[in-house]
Subunit: 356 residues, 2 copies
């Protein structure tokens, strides 16, 4: 049996250098947890250099303005959460219609164990009023984008979270048991489990409780989708991830022996839900076979899967497809939803291979 | 005394041909009401050709779905409203920093007497529920914009109005006592007095009552501004107009005799408020003299003004400025507010002339 190992490619793949944006190599799908040094990096501005001893987190907009240093946070009740993060632009490079933005292929995704304190415990100290609807999370990363769509001058990376989701959010200082690396948000980042990565604000430095929906740059011009309202298209911030399976092996264009058994491998995840099944089709979607799940399905986390494919006896092109279903009944669609703008690429992505 | 008449230029000035966008000539400031054939035209898509006998207006989202034809509307209680409309992009061409969009100079503004029925009377028939927050107004004009920022495919021009503003809105079939011309929205358009023109949806065909704020293309990607929220920039739809005076004569670069009296003329308006004073400075803002108001200030309407300027005795360049103050105390600022994106150009716009 041909089990192709992808561990030979064990370095991040640069996608943009200023700011730093790097994609994980296919080898990350060999392990459930993604090592920090192979975890994709999505930065909007230059990485801030922060001295953890000087750093403070402030919370405004409650009855009390509160401020924390790392010692104060570390003295609170700790929590650990395993969560997959996927960049909202992951797989954009595979869209048939070329889309603006960083050209991510399959590797703007990863899973880690995050340790810190619950956001809710921190917010409680600020005594939010009853009318509070959202909390704005601000990173220390800031700058200006001068091409369309332009930022309103120099701004910080900031995103808001509705208060009901804030209950699930962790403020993490550790990733897989080690202090956060600088590029992943040292000394503190949010982890918003089940949501696209843009919500998990890095280098967290300020939070503000607000009574109106925040319409910041990174949830309107960027990281938004069109939703239906009364028959119209209305812009809404991207939030929870879609159900999605990715094929890690074979790679597109890979040559595979005819009449052999090839172990197709990949991972699947489902935003705030858990994966239920993954199916594979080797005939363009005519028939679907169940893949074997390698990790116990869990909310917020990917589940790796494999499928032993008996390859055709004749030479030529073959197309593999994988589709996932989640515990809430969502099934990965075959067609791209164009209302997602250039985000949330979660339809079935066929992989063409050569049978030789 | 040199009173320059601008009536010689009595045709619309083309700014874009597909779709049709035309600016009013300076001669409009000679009259309080702007004739329909000289009224600026701001279209986003091709002008719809509508047969008024076939046309219907529907209202959805209330307890009853209601439909009106023109006969039904004309049998309701009539109202007439005089209102100035200014395109949100008016004066964009005069910005120091070149901005995207139709390059309007001073003439994307005009005043007319509008006749029709109150929007509130029409909405009442649909029996809106208590939770309704906004009404979406949809025109028959539709299409797709394929450059950034892209529309979500083909869409209708649509804008929402908060229910509390809906009380002031007229649905008009006549302009200065005549049926609406095709390019101005025949057979029915909204007139949202005091708001930038984009809210006064033309070729009105459908309205929808909604309980959440609508975030359509023409109030997010276009026709929006940045506002302050908890120290951040949050995107908000453009709505009421700012206080603004325009100098209609002299024109920029005009040659004016030294040591004479020149009648500086223009108009001023103030969104939902009324003009209180207009002042003119001929020395770069060092001293301001009161201009004479030619029309009785009224909410929603422009007030024309004039100022007899004793020109310098020496030759050279001179700079004229006009600034308005409204009944609510707002004063036109000297500096551009960059958070307005490429809209609401309402700071003092100096006019340089040559003294000869």
């Amino acid at each position: 049996m041909n089990v192709k190992s992808s561990t030979e490619a064990a370095e991040l793949i640069p996608r943009q250098s200023d700011p730093e944006n790097e994609e994980s190599p296919p080898s990350i799908f060999d392990r459930f947890l993604t090592p920090a040094e192979l975890f994709y990096v999505r930065n909007h501005f230059e990485t801030p250099r922060i001295d953890g001893r000087e750093w403070r987190l402030t919370v405004e907009g409650g009855a009390r303005r509160v401020e924390f240093d790392m010692t104060a946070l570390r003295s609170m009740e700790r929590a650990t959460l395993t969560a997959t993060l996927e960049c909202a632009g992951n797989s954009r490079a595979l869209l048939e219609e070329k889309a603006k933005g960083v050209q991510w292929a399959l590797g703007a995704v990863g899973t880690a164990e995050w340790t810190g304190v619950w956001l809710a415990d921190v917010l409680e100290r600020a005594e939010p009023a009853g009318g509070v609807k959202e909390v704005i999370l601000e990173g220390a990363d800031r700058g200006a984008i001068d091409e369309e769509p332009k930022t309103p001058g120099e701004i910080a990376f900031a995103r808001s979270i509705p208060l009901e989701k804030a209950r699930d959010v962790l403020l993490a200082w550790a990733m897989n048991g080690e202090d956060l690396p600088e590029r992943h948000g040292y000394p503190l980042r949010a982890i918003v489990p089940g949501w696209y990565g843009m919500a998990s604000v890095k280098w967290l430095r300020r939070m503000a409780l607000v009574e109106q929906p925040f319409q910041g740059y990174f949830q309107t011009f960027e990281y938004s989708r069109w939703v239906e309202m009364a028959g119209y298209r209305s812009l809404a911030p991207l939030h929870a991830g879609e159900v999605k399976a990715e094929i890690a092996a074979p790679a597109a264009g890979e040559a595979i022996g005819a009449g052999t058994t090839y172990r197709v491998r990949g991972a699947a995840w489902a935003g705030e839900s858990a994966i239920q099944t993954v199916e594979v089709s080797a005939n363009g979607g005519g028939a679907w076979d169940q893949a074997q799940l390698l990790d116990r399905p869990a909310r917020y986390c990917w589940t790796r899967w494999q499928y032993d494919w008996r390859t055709p006896s004749g030479r030529g092109r073959a197309t593999l497809m994988a589709r996932a279903r989640d515990a809430s009944g969502r099934v990965q669609p075959l067609e791209r939803n164009k209302l997602e703008r250039s985000y949330a690429v979660s339809h079935v992505l066929p992989v063409d291979v050569m049978i030789t």
